[in-house]
Assembly symmetry: C2
DNA sequence: TTGTATGCGTTATCAT
DNA sequence: ATGATAACGCATACAA
């Protein structure tokens, strides 16, 4: 590979001049510029990014951490992150953490080694103290979730209120025995959704039944397995609220396999509105999040942080929407009993 | 951030010695080593990756290019890539190309700028000449697809034979009017699948009908839209073979919306066996690819390439499996007519 | 407008 | 076993 020295020699100038024609900052004589350009062309010169990075102390790389790259919801968030990053000249390194604290920390360590300029966390399961301390010295943005009482910049919806909203939707359909399949309980966002569920029940004067609250891991399989469990208890629920669409889709299959129908026998609702949700049968009632926008805005915030520019707003909360489709309907049991 | 100089000063040694205790290559007096370790600890020293990279001319970054990060099939391939990379101490930069040649080239250019050590291409839509030339000077591995007549290392299944196999499955069920929803026609792998489909028809002495071959873009939506089109022609097909599972799932919804049933009225089969395929109703008949293994093996090959180690085998072809589920059944029309 | 020289933080090659 | 010093390839302050 040709270096800046080779170009300089061929164009009969100093390396400083070559550097100048590249940056375009300082003025350069058109003729010399021409010579340099030709030399670069002839040598097929490509500036060495490594050297540039070292010199400028920047990597132009940002890291995006997701619990699982296969998760379609996060895929779309990543897409927003990527597009935003590309526009600003950054590249995105994606890390799947599998909910593993150590993996998360390993990725975060890349910042300390100057291998990345900033990081976007889509799921917080690190010790809070560690996170706060880390964010104090490195650019960090939380996407999809919000850390109450913290001033780490974040972009998310109001998960608690959204969970309340969809639970109330079920309540309004006459359901009173509503199960909740939550996500990993150490994830803040899942706690928020659980809280929203509880609040809605409480507001309707319904006692919560611990048997009806089960913990999954976001996957199709866990939705399936947990639902089988729910179908084996004494008084089975008339509705299931899963903390994400995949678990909801898993739940629907379990119900079908059990010989019951959705929504006739049991209503099922999810969360996230991944693309598949409108294609399954029955189409899934869920909460639509602006995933792409979450990604884009969080990366824009991160880049400001990296550039030490001021943030207009530190905690951004975006709108979510309840999307009612076919998987939720009036509670038959309530109708018969009423 | 503390540098190696700070550590050296505090430990009262030269930077060379500090470097030595880090690498562990040369022998160091246990006492001095102890002092250095303590200094590093006290200063919370983290070696600067940028400087290391410049010095060693390595980035420890590999790029993985996918047509679309949201595509669940590629997500799993990426997962394999990531795991393999991590194990070898590499980080993975993921690029979504959206089938855009320029984006692809932009990412490939990162290699020329020494910003990455190698690249995995999961979908070839670049000019072949460019690709060959590029692969001659930079580490490149093709994952999921195989470039006939080229010696660029690759890991894939035999797409042609797999497509033949699943088409024959439909033929064996009595279907003769089989539509094919292909992927983007400029993608090699889609051409291979189309070929397999054609070969199967041909072997059964069936004339192909151009009306039954339509081009999609891998998405749920395109599967849906194209199927609506297929349902509007004169003699509608009795079976549809989609080039991937998402389009197949889109097709199933279109058929439902049209008032017909799968597989009773129309059989539908896909390709890839993404996780969702066993959860939709009816569960999808498809070709199972070892996605994770494709990812892992391709990254292992790439790393060998990067390290200039010899490859045992340049073109790796993995086994695929026909998975028969509920979405394909005997052709009713054939039964009635026969 | 252009050139010289220094530094970015390492690793590696010499000496000692 | 350890230290001094030269790269790695570029950007930039300072001179000219």
């Amino acid at each position: 590979m040709a270096t800046i020295h080779d170009v300089a020699k061929l164009a009969k100038v100093s390396i400083a001049t070559v550097s100048r024609v590249m940056s375009g900052a300082d003025p350069v004589n058109p003729k010399t510029q021409q010579r340099v350009l030709e030399a670069m062309e002839k040598l097929n010169y490509r500036p060495n990014g490594l050297a540039r990075n070292l010199r400028s102390q920047k990597t132009n790389v940002i890291i995006a951490l997701v619990p699982d790259i296969k998760n379609p919801f996060f895929s779309e968030v990543i897409r927003g992150i990527e597009d935003g990053a590309r526009q600003a000249g950054f590249n995105v390194l994606i890390g799947s953490t599998d909910g593993d604290r150590d993996k998360t920390k390993e990725y975060m360590a890349l910042l300390d080694e100057s291998r990345a300029d900033g990081i976007i966390l889509t799921t917080t399961q690190t010790d809070r103290a560690f996170l706060e301390e880390f964010a104090a010295r490195s650019p960090v943005v939380l996407a999809c979730e919000y850390l109450p009482g913290s001033d780490i910049p974040s972009v998310s919806i109001d998960n608690e209120s959204a969970a309340r909203k969809i639970t109330k939707h079920l309540l309004s359909l006459g359901h009173t025995r509503i199960a909740h399949i939550m996500g990993p309980s150490n994830v803040i966002l899942c706690q928020a959704r659980l809280n929203g569920y509880r609040q809605a029940l409480h507001q309707h004067g319904i006692m919560e039944d611990e048997l009806l609250i089960q913990e999954g891991d976001y996957s199709l399989d866990s939705g399936y397995l947990i639902t089988r469990k729910l179908l084996s208890i004494n008084r089975i629920p008339t509705a299931i609220f899963a903390a994400n669409d995949e678990m909801a889709i898993g739940a629907m299959k379990a119900i079908r396999d059990f010989g019951l129908r959705v929504p006739h026998d049991i209503s099922v609702v999810g969360f996230d509105d991944i693309h598949f949700s409108s294609y399954v049968s029955p189409a899934l009632t869920t909460i639509q999040q602006p995933r792409y926008e979450i990604g884009q805005r969080s990366v824009n915030m991160l880049i400001k942080l990296i550039r030490s520019e001021p943030l207009d707003q530190s905690q951004v909360v975006l709108e979510d929407t309840l999307v009612v489709r076919e998987s939720s309907a009036a509670c038959q049991r309530a109708i018969q009993e009423g």
